[in-house]
Amino acid sequence: MSGDGDGPDRHEDTAARRSGSAAARLAAAVAGHPSAAPPEPADPSGPVPGAADDGAAGPGRPDGSEAAGAAWQERLAGTLAFLRRRLTGEYEIDEFGFDQDWTEHVWLPPLRLLFEKWFRVEVLGVENLPDDGGVLLVANHSGTVAVDALMLSVAVHDHHPRHRPVRMLGADLVFDTPVVGPVARKAGNTLACNEDAERLLRGGECVSVFPEGFKGVGKPFSQRYKLQRFGRGGFVSAAIRSGVPIVPCSIVGAEEIYPLLGSIKPLARALGLPYFPVTPTFPWLGPLGAVPLPSKWIIEFGEPVSTDDLPDGAAEDPMVVFNMADSVRETIQQSLYRLLLRRGHPFLR
């Protein structure tokens, strides 16, 4: 079994055994991508493990009994190819630093596990998201740590028929922090400022924003599901200027994951954080306290609010902007109440 000569031989065997299916796949690949396969490392169907399996089980598989093993091997080969791309730098990022290959292979899979198994997220109204073109998702923010943002990106990516990536607008604190900053950029997020928001929206991206900001994530548990002030309405003017619709998005369940009882202010100040959370489990249980409580989540996308029918200069009219921000806020608040009734007990479902 040992020895250098063994490896290649065995490899040849395997290769020969599969050469039929390989040829079929090659033919399919050539038909699918003419010319030297624009390498698109993140083959749109490939990254989602489930989808990849479906594709692999297609033509040229000799018999069904091998299918399970083949799917496993397919995934292994995919992982190896991903590692090779990482080592040789053969992937692409956009001007904001969004690395789709990495996002689909490294970032989303663990989040998907949390999304499906831990929070059992139910997604409603995904048909309200357009298939393409710019759209601004406006959502409520809660939960001490911005897990809701991560779950929103999984919801849109996995449940929308076009698997649109969500480009989130985050606080500058995020991009200032080592490790967290680069990761946030790789996952497609950027700084919450009008320049970046409008650039993304004009580029036809699905952008999400949490206008409550830290006031929302860091609010005490006693104020759960009470929307905070919606900033200065900058998100509305960005949407109006780019002429994209606003889709209100209500997230139920994030409030219960880390019930915020208080904040240790001196510690927060020392660490440069907006608050230092105290929850029933954190910091008492140490790292164990960082495990979120398994609440039941619902994410609902509301009716889009169009902005392109407004008169010229509406983005510069504070009255229009405030009114629209208020109405979006009211819509989200109402659907939060409705979804809370629908959900019932936060943990027992």
């Binding site: 490896g7 290649p8 065995r10 490899h11 040849e12 395997t14 290769a15 020969a16 599969r18 050469s19 390989a22 040829a23 796949r25 090659l26 690949a29 050539v30 991508h33 030297a36 396969a37 624009p38 390498p39 490392p41 091997q73 397919e74 292994l76 080969a77 995919g78 190896l80 190819a81 590692l83 090779r84 791309r85 990482r86 080592l87 040789t88 730098g89 053969e90 992937y91 692409e92 990022i93 956009d94 001007e95 904001f96 630093g97 690395d99 500058d172 991009f175 200032d176 080592p178 490790v179 900053g181 680069p182 950029r185 790789k186 950027t190 700084l191 400022c193 320049e195 970046d196 650039r199």
Partner: protein
């Protein structure tokens, strides 16, 4: 109708000499005078072609006499904001950059024949705070202005250029803000950093975006600005972006995360054992993550760089000996997949036959043939018609 008479500074460097040569060959140009404080090396002299060389220090008022005597109508200050070749040259570079520009502009102001001035600037003027918008347009006001280093110098230089423009409103002034220039020929602190073998230090916990400009595009843009009608500030870079770590990998190197505080020690250590040094501030400046909006370049200047950031970087990277060869990585992948009984994924359809026809693989010819699509694949990553014939073979 008589043609233009152009003065180009910094002709001992690649950009100045190549620009002088190209302008000299241009039909609308009568005469090109390249100036520098030192004599150009033979290679630079060859690039200058038909351009004349005048040894003159731009910090010396003598430069005004050159302008006047030749009746120069266009001044291209290509050595402004040039990156110093070594750390020791930093003070010298600042002197040349800031004071040289000041003197040159003073000379231009006194010479009535001067009608066009192009002064090179750099993307470093945008600073690089994470609180700035991700993509800088020419109008972006950085939230934190660099206090020292090349960025500070470039801001000062742009200030002088603006006040020169106020004093001589009849002169057309163009200020291109160039991204880091890379290519097979130029030597900058950045290319030196990526030439470190086998590992390149990067700032731990930071992986910022990087935009570069190919040397040929840099020359072409400067030429267009010298001869064209554009006035004002314009961003110049290859389209798209890379991350620093990605660039290290594409150069066939291994990224070595070093905390910011350990960077100076590491640099001194390398210098002590004479492996070749790097400047800690270059590594730090790479953490800035500067990407520029290129709308104005295409719209108003009418130029679209021939090479994207990735292509430009690859064109530089192919001059390096990779520490981690792409082919080796691919081979390991194929071996590993084979050993585990999986069929390796095919990154390019042309090589898809490789696992099937593995009998041919050990033959050296078949091997290099099988991997050449890999190189094409790299070039065509941005959809450009890949496989320029010179590319294979130059890889070592």
């Amino acid at each position: 109708m008589t043609g233009r008479t152009i003065l180009v500074t910094g002709v001992t460097r690649y950009l100045g000499s190549a620009l002088a040569g190209q302008l000299a060959a241009h039909p609308d140009v009568d005469r090109v005078i390249g100036v520098d404080a030192a004599l150009p090396e033979p290679a630079a002299r060859a690039r200058m072609g038909a351009a004349e060389f005048a040894r003159a220090d731009i910090r010396n008022p003598l430069i005004a006499r050159v302008l006047d005597a030749a009746g120069v109508d266009t001044v291209v200050h290509a050595s402004a904001s040039a990156t110093p070749a070594s750390a020791a040259a930093r003070t010298m570079a600042k002197e040349m950059n800031v004071l040289g520009t000041l003197q040159l502009l003073a000379a231009c102001q006194r010479t009535p024949s001067v009608a066009h001035v192009v002064v090179r600037s750099t993307s470093a003027v945008y600073g690089g705070s994470p609180r700035d918008p991700a993509v800088a347009t020419e109008d972006t006001q950085p939230r934190s202005v660099p206090g020292t280093g090349p960025g500070r110098d470039a801001i000062d230089i742009e200030g002088y250029v603006r006040s020169f423009g106020r004093r001589r409103p009849d002169v057309r002034v163009a200020v291109p803000r160039l991204a880091e220039v890379v290519g097979p020929t130029v030597r900058t602190p950045l290319t030196r950093l990526f030439s470190l073998y086998p590992a390149v230090p990067v700032l731990a916990g930071r992986d910022a975006r990087l935009q570069v400009l190919h040397e040929a595009d840099a020359v072409a843009v400067l030429q267009r600005l010298a001869l064209g009608p554009f006035a004002g500030v314009v961003n110049v870079a290859g389209e798209g972006a890379l991350t620093v770590v990605q660039a290290v990998h594409r150069a066939g190197r291994i990224p070595l995360p070093v905390p910011s505080s350990g960077l100076g020690l590491w640099a001194r250590g390398l210098q002590a054992v004479r492996i070749g040094g790097f400047q800690p501030e270059v590594v730090r400046s790479l953490a800035a993550g500067r990407v520029m909006d290129l709308g104005r370049l295409q719209r108003d200047v009418g130029y679209r760089p021939a090479m994207t950031t990735v292509q430009a970087f690859d064109d530089f990277a192919r001059t390096l000996t990779p520490a981690l060869d792409r082919r080796l990585v691919r081979d390991v992948e194929v071996r590993l997949a084979g050993a585990l009984g999986a069929r390796p994924e095919d990154p390019w359809s042309a090589a898809a036959t490789r696992p099937g026809g593995s009998g041919r693989v050990p033959a050296p010819d078949a091997r290099s043939g099988a991997s050449s699509p890999g190189r094409r694949h790299l070039v065509s990553i941005d959809g450009q018609a890949g496989g320029t014939p010179r590319r294979p073979g130059r890889w070592r």
